[in-house]
Symmetry: C2
Subunit: 400 residues, 2 copies
C-alpha cells in the first residue's frame, strides 16, 4: 500500500472551486476547461456564483444564462463544501498539483475532443489504498463488449491475469462482460486493478457488481470524476471512456461489435497516442467484428497474450513517458541478472524460484543466487510460498 | 468452358525437352532453370542425355555426374516421349509460350528462392476444361492447416463460396482440412476452383479426396508440375506451395499453427508481391497462432469476409497485373449501371434480380432495366432461375 502524497498539493480554495465546478457541469466540458485554464477555477466559480463580470475583455461564458448559473453554482458550492467537510472516510478528492494526480490525464487538454467531451478532469474522486499516479505508470486498459461471449470473458480474464502478474495495473470500467472479467482476472492473481466509473465512487453500478467493486476499493482503486451519489448517464459513460484511455499506456479491446463503446475508448487511446490493441476472435462472432475491423483498418495492433500486451506498452513507455524514467533509477544500480529477476517478480503474491526463472528466462540456479543478493540489498523478501518484491522496492517501482 | 488456346504455342522439341527435364529433376530446381534460360531446354536435355560439352565457356552442370545424367536423362526422355505420344486423354502438358500458360508463375524466376526450390515450372500438367491463364487473372489461394478445427473448415468453406460467387477462382492444395474445405465451398456454389497437386494429375492424394478431385477435374482444373503417376514427397509439397502463391493474386491463410506449411505458401506470396491475408480465430486455439503472428508481424492483412478478400486482390490487380487490363475492354463499353450489374453476376448459377441488386448495391428496378439492355447486347442470359452471364461474356471476362 502506498500512502497518498499531499505535497506540493492543490490549494484548498482551488480544490473547493474545482469540486463545485465539477458538480455544476458534466464531465469533460471543453468550454469550462478553457475558462479554468484562462482565469483559474477559483475566479470562474466566483464569477458563475455571483454573476460578476469576468474582467479584461473576456465575455461572460455564453453557455450559461447569468441567473441560472448563479443559482446552480450556489447550490454546487454548498454541496462541494459539504462533501469536503464530511466526505465519506473512504473517498478522497484529488486535484492537479496533488502528488497523486495522474498527470497522464492532462494529455486530454492537448487533443481534439471526441463527441464534444474531451477536457482533462477538474479533479478525481479516489476510493482505495493506492496512489493513482504510481499505478498509472505501468497500466493497460482492458475493455470490451457488455454482451461478451464466454470466449471473450475467458480471454479477457486470462490476459488481465497475465499482465497483472507482470506488475501492470489493469484498468477497466466495471461493466458487465469484458470489463468485469478483466477486473476479476487481475484480482484472482492478487494483481492491481482500477475501476473508472461513470457514477459516484460510492455507487454500486451495475448493482450485481457490488461485491466486486468493494473488493477493488479494498485491494485496488476506484476512480471517478463524479461526486458521491451521482448516477451514470450515457454522456458520463462516454466521458469516462476518455479517462480510461488517458490513464493508461494502452487500451486492449476484447470483443466489441461495430458500434461498441469499447471502440470509443480505443479511439480515445489512438487520439492520445497510446497503444491501441485488439484481441481477435472467431470471424463468425458479431462481438468480434468491431475488433477485427479496427485491426484491419490499422487502428489497433493484434495481440493474443499478456506478454505481447506488456511488450507493446513497454515499448511506448520507454519512448514517450518521461516520468517512467524514475523507475529506472532503482533498476539501474543492478546488473542484468538482478534487473531481470526484479522485473519477473509479481506484485504481491510470492512466487517459487522456478517460476521466476521461467519468467526471467534465466537458469534457476542463477536466479536463486541473484535473489540472495537482492535479499541482502532489501529489494526482495522471502515468504513460505517463495519470493516477492520488498515493500520498499514495490513502492519505489510504483512511485518511480 | 473455355477451349485451350494453342497459338502461338511452344515448339514440339521444346515441349518434349521440358517434359523430359521435369522428369529428370525435382520441381523448382533453380540451377536447372538457370541452364534452361542460358542454353534452352532442347540443348540442355541433349547435353545431359549425351554427355557432350555445353559449348562456349559454360562448364558441365556440376550438380550431376556425366554418367548418371546420361542414364537418367535417357530414361526421362523415353518416358516423356511415351507420355506425349499416349497421354491419358484427360491430361495435357503446357509450356511457356502456350496460350494457356499462366504467365504469373514466371514471376518466380525473379525472386529469391525459399528453401532452395524457387524456379518457375518448366511446364505444367492440366486436367480439366478451363484455361489456366484466364482463371488465374481473378484468383485467390485459400490454404491452411490440415488439422483444421470445425471453425476453420466452416470459415474456409464460407469464404471460398463468397469469393467464388464474385467470379474469383479459388486455388488450393486439395489437402485435408482447410484446403478441401475451400475447394468444396467453391464447388458448392458452382464457382471455379483449381487444385494444385504435389503428385501426378491422375493420382488421388489424399485417397479420401478422390471424388472431390474428380469433381474438380470436371468443373474446375487440376494443375501439377509432376508427370502422371508421380507420388507426393515433402519436397514436392514445398515446391507446390510456390505455385499456389504464384498463380494467384493473393493468399488467404485460414488456421495455421506456427510451423504450418500454409505459412510457407504465405511467405511465397509475400516474396512474389502478392497480397497476403490471414483470417483470425480464437486466441486460445493453437491452429490460429500462426495466422495471428503473421498478422501481428505485418506479414498479412486481417480479413474476415469474401468481400474484403475480393477488395484486397482487386486493389493489387489494378495496380500490378497489366494483363488484367484486357478485362476492362468489355466493361468499358458499358455505363456504370451496366458495369456494376455485370460485376455482380455469378459465374454460372443464375441469380434472381433482387440478389443481383443487393450485390450491385443498386435499386432492383434499375437492375431489371439494365439486365434487359444487357440481354439485347448478348452479355447476359435469362434462365428459369434468374439471370447469368452469357457464355460469350463469361469467356471474354475470363480470357481478358
Amino acid at each position: 500500500m502506498t500512502a497518498v502524497t499531499a505535497a506540493p498539493g492543490c490549494e484548498p480554495a482551488d480544490r473547493l472551486a474545482r469540486l463545485a465546478l465539477s458538480i455544476f457541469e458534466e464531465p469533460g466540458d471543453p468550454q469550462l476547461a478553457e475558462y479554468v485554464r484562462d482565469v483559474g477555477a477559483v475566479r470562474l466559480r466566483h464569477v458563475l456564483a455571483t454573476g460578476e463580470r469576468l474582467g479584461g475583455n473576456r465575455p461572460w461564458p455564453p453557455r450559461w444564462s447569468r441567473d441560472d448559473a448563479k443559482a446552480a453554482m450556489g447550490a454546487a458550492t454548498d454541496k462541494a463544501q459539504g462533501l469536503l467537510d464530511a466526505t465519506p472516510r473512504t473517498l478522497r478528492w484529488i486535484c492537479p498539483g496533488d502528488g497523486e494526480w495522474p498527470i497522464a490525464v492532462d494529455d486530454l487538454d492537448h487533443v481534439s475532443p471526441l463527441s464534444g467531451r474531451g477536457a482533462a478532469p477538474l479533479g478525481l474522486w479516489m476510493r482505495g489504498p493506492h496512489d493513482l499516479r504510481a499505478l498509472a505508470i505501468r497500466s493497460v486498459a482492458i475493455v470490451g463488449s457488455r454482451a461478451a461471449t464466454s470466449y471473450g470473458s475467458q480471454v479477457a480474464g486470462d490476459l488481465a491475469a497475465e499482465v497483472a502478474e507482470r506488475r501492470v495495473t489493469v484498468v477497466s470500467g466495471a461493466a458487465y462482460g469484458i470489463d468485469s472479467a478483466a477486473h476479476r482476472g487481475a484480482l484472482a492473481v492478487d494483481g492491481i486493478t482500477v475501476a473508472v466509473l461513470a457514477c459516484g465512487g460510492d455507487v454500486a453500478y451495475p448493482r450485481a457488481h457490488e461485491s466486486m467493486l468493494a473488493r477493488i476499493a479494498t485491494d485496488g482503486l476506484i476512480v471517478t470524476e463524479l461526486a458521491p451519489g451521482s448516477t451514470p448517464t450515457r454522456l458520463r459513460f462516454l466521458a469516462r471512456n476518455r479517462l480510461i484511455a488517458a490513464l493508461t499506456s494502452g487500451t486492449v479491446v476484447v470483443e466489441a461489435a461495430w458500434r461498441s463503446g469499447a471502440l470509443n475508448t480505443a479511439n480515445w487511446a489512438g487520439s492520445l497516442g497510446r497503444v491501441t490493441m485488439g484481441v481477435p476472435g472467431p470471424v463468425i462472432s458479431s462481438t468480434s467484428n468491431g475488433v477485427h475491423r479496427l485491426i484491419r483498418d490499422g487502428g489497433a495492433e493484434l495481440v493474443t497474450t499478456g506478454a505481447e500486451i506488456a511488450e507493446s506498452i513497454a515499448a511506448l513507455g520507454a519512448e514517450t513517458c518521461s516520468w517512467v524514467q524514475g523507475e529506472h533509477r532503482l533498476l539501474d544500480d543492478l546488473d542484468d541478472s538482478g534487473r531481470q529477476v526484479m522485473e519477473a517478480l509479481p506484485v504481491r503474491r510470492a512466487c517459487a524460484v522456478n517460476r521466476i526463472a521461467e519468467s526471467a528466462r534465466r537458469p534457476a540456479e542463477d536466479v536463486a543466487a541473484t535473489l540472495g543478493r537482492l535479499l541482502l540489498a532489501g529489494l526482495v523478501e522471502r515468504t513460505g510460498e517463495g519470493w516477492r518484491l520488498s515493500a520498499h522496492a514495490a513502492g519505489e517501482l510504483r512511485r518511480a
